[in-house]
Symmetry: C2
Subunit: 242 residues, 2 copies
């Protein structure tokens, strides 16, 4: 019934997820693992693997002895904090048309903290990019990215910076962005920031202080992002342990 490549598990996951999104399992109950295995002609282990991944995503939950169910509560959650990867998608999920504007690009020597965090020599330079994200042409997110110049292996122009950071790094450097460790910091807008985001001074807002790592778990970028929370809300699900 299914073919190899992508993996059977991946295909099974997609199959089930689509049926959930099409509301084909009305009443929230999903067929049993044995039944699904028979339907797709794969082993129960493969189905269990697919369901486990959907469970991690929060799409379904299981009750021993009872069955597997669609998680209606979390189905509507748009931007789950842990899953935010590129802001364009977040804005789309909120129903906005995203666009970007490059406010500034320059090279600078890192300060002590930056050079330590990023493992740079003093003589190296940082590329600093200030980028504004707009939702339906209204400013919502301002990001400042700081990337060691030495990781680039191809030249680029300002227009290339409109692409999502991970895309930009993939295209012009030899390192790939794998994950961020983000710290949530409260602040208030002031000066240039209030102008860029179109907010009155002293408005409270949320910012992320982030370090981006590559697949080798080496830090490759520092970022600071500021959000207009009246246009954008972040949600997350908090559970007991794991």
């Amino acid at each position: 019934m299914l073919k190899r490549k992508p993996s059977l598990t991946e295909q099974a996951k997609t199959y089930i997820k689509q049926r959930i999104q099409n509301d084909e399992y009305d009443g929230a109950r999903i067929p049993s693992e044995t039944e699904l295995a028979f339907q797709l002609g794969v082993s129960r282990t493969t189905i269990r693997d697919a369901l486990s991944r959907l469970q991690i995503e929060g799409v379904i939950y299981r009750k021993q002895g009872a069955g597997t169910f669609v998680n209606k509560a979390t189905l509507q959650i748009k931007s789950r904090l842990e899953e935010i990867w590129c802001y364009e998608n977040v804005l789309e999920d909120h129903g906005y048309v995203p666009s970007t504007r490059i406010l500034g690009m320059r090279r600078e020597r890192p300060d002590l903290e930056q050079s330590i965090t990023l493992g740079m020599e003093e003589s190296e330079e940082l590329l600093i990019v200030e980028k504004l994200f707009l939702a339906n042409d209204r400013p919502v997110i301002l990001t400042v990215n700081q990337i060691p110049v030495k990781i680039f292996e191809r030249p680029f122009v300002v227009e290339d910076l409109h692409a999502p950071v991970f895309q930009f790094l993939q295209d012009f450097s030899r390192r790939r962005l794998s994950y961020y460790v983000s710290e949530i910091v409260p602040s208030t807008v002031s000066g240039a920031l209030s102008e860029a985001l179109g907010l009155e001074a002293q408005t409270p807002l949320i910012s992320f202080e982030e370090t981006g790592y590559d697949e080798e778990h080496e830090p490759i970028l520092l970022a600071r992002s500021y959000f207009r929370d009246d246009l954008l809300r972040f949600r997350l699900i908090r559970r007991e342990v794991v």
Copy 2:
């Protein structure tokens, strides 16, 4: 080598995690799955299951063809936002001695929004609890919990409110808190809040607006929490999809 109950997977996970924390796998490389299976006298599937859970927790990462490695970058992260379950533990993780003070407890009629979110009748009442968390006797977190009175099945006194909410609900109601959906909201302190947390007015801070659900995915509590971010920082790991 291992006995049943708790599950072999759970025991294997604990075994590996402890060895990681004791730094017994210096150089970051963990024995191969086959090797671990042999050492513990279980099947490779069991080991893989244990490792998968550790991977989800961010403790290890795997590279096909190369091996399994300790994730040094995330090992130091204290309060991962997704895993926050009770604030006492968060404070302990930060190295503080936690304590609590009940600032207020009263019953009120819910407003329209509250009654809709919690599925209450207009005639029902809400229990409202204001609780202050202290770290080494300094105020750090203020929470306001709102719980429908009808879910309680045993009487309680003010002292019982010092227990973590999930514990309190478990002991005195017939519903169990299963997870929160939290929204992150920026705000500034004012009035009673600034007094309780010992902050100057207008200091920016982070708050959570939360809805707590039971195991049946029915909402059972509303909460609002405010944090002093100079004493407490929240971190999270953001990855691509899942």
